[in-house]
């Protein structure tokens, strides 16, 4: 019995050792990832988003048919888990060759060595012709480009505003802070709306900095001091930022806005639960279809430093570990045809990144109902801080803004947030190199 057990143990050890040794020999530790010869892998965040996915599929099909050398294969991920998948793949050195990235993450991914700089010269559309917010640069190098952008905006019903004697603002004459407050007061006083304003405070994640940091900027504050990206002090906890936080909280204490909005703010707006909705251009077509001419698309409020909206949406780049960079660049150049800029914007109801594409999209041509979004993107867009620290800044801001809305002392909360961001910047040696 005992000798039997010994034999078994010896055999097991031998098998495991052999397997490990052999595995070591055959390990496919090539020089790059995401390419098997001339077959390149492409990752996109569009699983479950059929409209946008179809355009990606179309470009890939066209590219594969247009030449015989390279072949691109798509791998789609649902948006909610996309960033985690990329980060996990980067640590396992298994990134694809071509991938899309949410604009504000581009500097971090470039700094972290996920993305490689691009050379898009010779493509049909020049990078210089794009809306600036659709170009992802870091350290003066191009790392990513997008086919579209989105714009924050307010939706309302013209009939409701008129019935309460509220002026309908325009791009050239947006509401001032005072006008906005009296509009909310009038709507609240009518008794029709428990909370006249819906700003999507039931959401989470990147929506928070995307939606509310432009308001902070319009007050005169910012997420970090952009002169050298070395501190958030002054920008995030200065008097302007405190004024913003106080105003933000007052929306709740005055009963103008719910501390936590609904799960589907746009449906609530369409159902007449709220009068003014702070939302994005992506809901414009749906709202126009339901409300027709009654729909009012309003520019953001000017809180002092002019109206502001966030810039940058999804953009395409190439991984630094890509095993076939020539093929990846070839594909990315191919994807820069005006036709594709048009297709993306049409499919997703977003703002095309070039004027040439805008001219071909109903509603976005000069004078069209959605031209306002292109103008907003040109005039009011502020990209999120171009620093590798952005993902951290974003999460700190989300938490702080939620605390403020829940009643935390504005000055204290903001000063603590600025301290945390400064500590992160310092402990990462200001993300140098």
């Amino acid at each position: 019995m005992r000798s039997k057990a010994k034999r078994l143990a010896a055999t097991s050890v031998a098998i495991v050792t052999a397997a490990t040794v052999l595995a070591g020999c055959s390990g496919s530790s090539g020089s790059g990832s995401g390419a098997d010869g001339d077959t390149l892998t492409l990752w996109t965040h569009n699983a479950g988003n059929a409209a946008e996915y179809k355009v990606v599929q179309q470009i890939v099909d066209d590219f594969n048919a247009s030449q015989g050398k390279y072949k691109v294969r798509i791998q789609a991920f649902p948006q909610g888990s996309y960033n985690d998948a990329v980060v996990a793949a980067a640590s396992a050195r298994k990134l694809p060759c071509i991938l899309d990235a949410d604009g504000p993450n581009v500097p971090n991914w470039a700094w972290g060595g996920y993305l490689a700089p691009l050379d898009m010269s010779g493509s049909e559309t020049a990078v210089a012709d794009q809306l600036p917010s659709t170009v992802g640069t870091y350290d003066d190098k191009l790392y990513a480009f997008g086919h579209y952008d989105v714009a924050l905006t307010m939706f309302a019903r013209k009939s409701v505003l008129q019935a309460h004697g509220i002026r309908i603002p325009t791009i050239d004459r947006p509401w001032t802070a005072d006008e906005f407050t009296s509009a909310l007061a009038a709507l609240k006083a009518s008794g029709t709306f428990e909370h006249p304003l819906e700003m999507g405070t039931g959401g989470s994640g990147e929506w928070w900095p995307y939606a509310y940091s432009p308001q902070l900027q319009s007050f005169g504050g910012d997420l970090v001091d952009r002169s050298d990206y070395k501190s958030a002090k002054g920008a995030l906890d200065g008097p302007e930022a405190v004024a913003w936080a106080t105003w933000f909280r007052s929306l709740v204490t005055d009963g103008y806005m719910a501390q936590k909005g609904g799960s589907s703010p746009n449906d609530d707006f369409l159902n007449g639960k709220s009068a003014i909705e702070w939302d994005g251009s992506w809901d414009a077509a749906k709202n126009a279809e339901k409300l027709g001419d009654d729909l009012a698309i309003l520019p953001p409020v000017d809180f002092g430093q002019g109206p502001k909206i966030g810039g940058a949406s999804w953009q395409w780049g190439m991984s630094a570990t890509c095993g076939n960079k020539a093929g990846a660049q070839e594909y990315l150049k191919f994807s820069r045809k005006t036709q594709y800029f048009v297709d993306f914007a049409k499919a997703t109801g977003t703002i095309p990144a070039t004027a040439a594409a805008s001219a071909q999209i109903p509603g976005y041509q000069p004078g069209g109902p959605y031209e306002v979004f292109t103008q907003e993107a040109r005039k009011f867009a502020v990209v999120r801080p171009v620093t590798p620290a952005y993902p951290y800044v974003s999460s700190v801001f989300e938490k702080t803004a939620k605390d403020i809305l829940a009643g935390a002392d504005p000055k204290k909360a903001l000063s603590q947030a600025a301290d945390q961001i400064d500590a992160n910047l310092k402990s990462n040696n200001y993300y140098a190199g």
Partner: protein
């Protein structure tokens, strides 16, 4: 003073006395059923209506514009059939392997006499304290290095890394401390005299396991089946980390497909209904054995 014996409560009074208990139980049952009813009913309504009905009892009633639109849309958005199939394969294989492996381990720990078996049982049970999240990342690192033999034409080839496979979603979850413990406790309740009689008749240990102990352990098998199936069906974090290929994803990862700029709640309800039904069916099928086993595990021994 003559005392008359108090009459036993008549059937009527007994019924009356039971009413409050029944009411309480019905209220509790409703409380538990409401979310499922809401899910089912909402799966037939357009998004805007779901939110319009939220404030009233209408949320639980099939009123308004009902249609199967959400269900058709689910199939446009998610390869739902593929995901269901994947989850069925992954869960079923894990359940079957789990029953075999864990019951064998428990058999050795409970029936065979060898030094160190008590210590080993304690160590196995001790692993229950460690939450999965704490070792998920090291596990990813490991499975990314593990070798596997693959038949490549007529050659056996050794490959490295288990990412993007079914086995990476199955094998780490086969051995399960709680299942071993459950089988162990149940086996303890089966009289050892049966083994001795079988040994006398010349049965091998495996024969005793297969012909005597396992056939007597129906409720334990049912319990382990359910307790293995549920977390496998619901697994989300692990497949997210180790599977990049869409064709191998399980159902729960599919939920993420609906969270776009505009969340399609009606479709989420339809998809949730589709992926909840198999679990409900399985539970109903095993319900009796499950309850028996839970009820008896504390008494026997």
């Amino acid at each position: 003073m003559a005392t008359t014996p108090t009459p036993a409560p008549g059937p009527r009074r007994r019924t009356l006395r039971r009413i409050p208990g029944h009411l309480l139980r019905s209220a509790l049952a409703l409380l538990f059923v409401f979310p499922v009813v809401f899910m089912l009913i909402s799966s037939f309504k357009p998004d805007q209506q779901i939110f319009a009905d939220l404030g009233s009892i209408k949320a639980f009633l099939p009123v308004g514009q009902l249609s199967l639109d959400n269900y058709t849309a689910v199939f446009d958005r998610v390869p739902a059939g593929r995901f269901l199939l994947n989850s069925i394969v992954i869960s079923a294989v894990t359940v079957v392997l789990g029953i075999v492996v864990n019951s064998l381990a428990a058999f050795a720990l409970s029936r065979m006499r060898w030094p160190g078996r008590r210590l080993l049982l304690v160590l196995i049970i001790a692993t229950l304290i460690v939450p999965f999240e704490t070792f998920a990342l090291p596990l990813v690192w490991w499975v990314n290095k593990l070798p596997w033999l693959e038949l490549n034409g007529f050659h056996l080839a050794l490959t490295e890394g288990w990412l993007d496979t079914y086995r990476v979603q199955i094998l780490p979850f086969v051995a399960n401390a709680f299942s071993v413990f459950l089988f162990h406790q149940y086996f303890q309740s089966i009289p050892k005299e049966l083994d001795e009689a079988a040994r006398m008749d010349g049965a091998s240990w495996f024969g005793i396991y297969r012909r005597i102990v396992m056939p007597l352990s129906g409720p334990a098998v049912a319990t382990v089946a359910i307790l293995t199936f549920l977390p496998m069906w619901n697994s989300y974090l692990w497949p997210l980390m180790v599977v990049q290929d869409e064709n191998l994803r399980p159902v729960m990862v599919g939920i993420q497909y609906f969270f776009q700029l505009n969340v399609s709640w009606g479709q989420i309800m339809a998809y949730s209904t589709m992926i909840t039904v198999p679990v409900l069916a399985l539970f109903l099928a095993f319900q009796r054995s499950f309850i028996n086993s839970i009820a008896s595990s504390g008494v026997k021994g």
